[in-house]
């Protein structure tokens, strides 16, 4: 019956129009209410005023009335104040820790992806295992070992050495903690990139007379560039916002990072919400380039998967 079929078809076309946006709707609304609005709240609080009687932040939702005094105080502190020192320290910590992660992570990823042979599955399992152990547990494990009189100290005593107080404000302990904490997140994307390189490309380079070293520098390394960048961005983003690693492995003001200043203003006091929000915006300015790069990368990956 042709009329019936037509009715059914137009019904289907009608359904087709609303069914897809309808499915996306709950998720989109959720993200608008609990991601976009909260994101905006950072700005509303940072550009708001402080209630002089109760010393509480009063957010200003209308951008027309935004008051930049709290924000400009933070910016002033960033250039030539205490916050400036902390920002420089944060950048140094993140840069050194990321470099060390790459230095150690690259050979590991290279070995597991291209040279591990028969035991590949086992090696892969070994580099995946840290993913399933909570970050805080991994830090706690080091606190156990580095506590006064614990295993590391006893190893020092064994050789007649006098160990330093590891957990009382040592820069290298915090940096090594960051390396320990984040390196698995760099190794895995690197592993993925190295694993995708076609063995025949490398053979071609060697057949054309390149030495193994030259093959590595001119072929393997350039082909793994995307993986290096992705891995670095993935570890640098959370590292910039880290406050728990320095808190756990030092707790001294000597090792405070930008995340700690935010943690102090938000988690430990409520009166300074405005400053905390302004500090968060400053932090976002620091990581904006990283975020943008990462956004473009995963956007592109999705597009490629679709095609």
């Amino acid at each position: 019956m042709p009329t019936n079929l037509q009715a059914g078809e137009s019904d289907a076309v009608g359904q087709r129009r609303w069914v897809w946006p309808g499915l996306a709707l709950p998720g989109v609304v959720w993200l608008l209410l609990l991601f976009v609005v909260p994101f905006y709240a950072i700005f509303a609080v940072a550009m708001g005023r402080t209630d002089p009687i109760f010393n509480r932040p009063v957010p200003e939702w209308n951008p027309v009335y935004w008051d930049v005094s709290s924000f400009s105080r933070v910016i002033g502190d960033l250039f030539g104040g205490q916050l400036g020192t902390i920002a420089v320290r944060t950048v140094i910590y993140v840069a050194v820790a990321s470099f060390l992660c790459l230095l150690l992570g690259y050979p590991v990823a290279y070995f597991v992806s291209r040279r591990s042979g028969r035991w590949r599955g086992l090696w892969l399992l070994a580099i995946l295992t840290p993913f399933w152990i909570n970050y805080l547990m991994r830090m706690m494990a080091w606190i156990n070992l580095l506590s006064p009189g614990a295993q590391v100290d006893r190893a020092f005593f064994l050789f007649g050495l006098d160990p330093p107080s590891w957990l009382a404000g040592q820069h290298y302990v915090v940096i090594l903690g960051l390396v320990y904490g984040y390196i698995p997140f760099l190794i895995l994307p690197l592993f993925g990139a190295l694993d995708r390189i076609d063995e025949r490309t490398l053979e071609a380079a060697q057949d054309l007379g390149a030495s193994p070293a030259r093959t590595f520098w001119r072929v393997t390394l350039p082909l793994s560039k995307q993986g290096i960048l992705a891995g670095l961005v993935i570890i640098m983003l959370p590292m910039f916002g880290d406050y728990y690693t320095p808190n756990l492995l030092s707790g001294s003001p000597r090792n405070v990072m930008m995340g700690n200043t935010i943690d102090q203003f938000i988690n430990q006091t409520t009166s300074q919400g405005g400053t905390g929000a302004a500090l968060t915006i400053v932090l976002m300015l620091f990581v904006a380039v990283l975020m943008a790069y990462y956004l473009v990368t995963i956007g592109r990956a999705a597009k490629e998967a679709r095609e």
């Binding site: 996306a24 993200l31 494990a141 959370p238 919400g273």
Partner: protein, 295 residues
């Protein structure tokens, strides 16, 4: 050993350096945790001197109240973490699956911005999301109490995008042919989805449940920013609070329980992923599937 006279370096030599480096890395990355786990079974109160095997820090006695099961603060952290993870899993997965299907098929004007919006939580540092949620619950959504409810809303928010990424990968692999065949045979889009697409997506959905559970139970930053008082302290927050205070091995035991829970959920996710890879003709091992998962 490679002899310096030859032109080419011995490939075995470089391989040996690589093997040693990797072995050293693996040892360095796992040994501290292995030691921490070992001392959760210590018979004494020390976490650095071995005094014999015991499970007292896990089960202990009600009177001593020092084990994961009987210490009120450890037990409450365990139940809070599991409660939160289950709740998050049950809400974030359906929303994420629907969002993934909607975004993959919808061609309207708002589809692109929505897709862009979905990617944002993935690239936002957790501390920024923590501050944002803290401030919005404080200043605008005053009706949401800090503690379990705020934590639950926060966890779902960061989990949705992960579900979308997992499900979308599978959606692209399936393509639109099956659905269109169903619709050519007279099914409405809704029927085609329910009877054709969702069964095909079931491994990805199961994997999403497990991954969201693992993400939620492992979360520290959001849980901490949105907690209120002792009752809403989760395992990671409890580890953070207690790690520097010379705690008894029961804290190691709690951490070990958390680790085993995470591994269990990841294994479920890995098996689900494997089913799907097999169906689509891949021949990866389980470990390889797990790896592609984390990337």
């Amino acid at each position: 050993m490679s002899s310096p006279g030859r032109g080419k370096p011995n490939p075995w030599a470089t391989s040996r350096v690589l093997t040693l480096t990797t072995a050293a890395y693996v040892l360095w990355s796992l040994a501290p945790v292995a030691i921490a786990i070992t001392f959760s079974f210590n018979d004494g109160r020390s976490r650095s001197a071995w005094q014999g095997f015991s499970t007292r820090w896990y089960v202990g006695t009600r009177e001593a109240a020092e084990s994961v099961i009987f210490d009120p603060s450890l037990r409450s952290a365990l139940t809070q973490s599991i409660k939160l993870a289950l709740l998050t899993m049950l809400v974030a997965t359906p929303i994420g699956v629907a969002l993934a299907i909607g975004l993959a098929r919808w061609r309207g004007r708002l589809a692109k911005p929505s897709n862009f919006l979905m990617l944002f939580p993935l690239v936002t540092p957790e501390i920024v999301m923590g501050v944002a949620l803290f401030l919005v619950f404080h200043n605008l959504y005053g009706f949401v109490p800090f503690g379990t409810w705020a934590q639950f809303l926060g966890h779902v928010t960061f989990s949705i995008s992960f579900v979308v990424i997992i499900v979308r990968g599978r959606l692209f692999a399936i393509g639109r042919d099956y659905e269109e065949a169903a619709m050519d045979l007279g099914a409405t889009p809704f029927e085609a989805m329910r009877r054709v697409l969702l069964p095909l997506l079931s491994p990805a959905i199961l994997a999403s449940f497990a991954i969201v559970f693992a993400l939620s139970i492992d979360d520290f930053v959001i849980s901490q920013f949105l907690s209120s008082g002792a009752s809403s302290i989760t395992i990671p927050v409890r580890l953070y609070a207690g790690a520097r205070l010379a705690p008894p091995p029961s804290l190691n035991a709690l951490a070990t329980v958390l680790m085993l829970t995470t591994i269990l959920s990841i294994v479920v996710a890995g098996l689900a992923y494997r089913v799907w890879k097999k169906r689509s003709g891949g021949d990866e091992s389980t470990v390889e599937s797990l790896a592609s998962f984390e990337i």
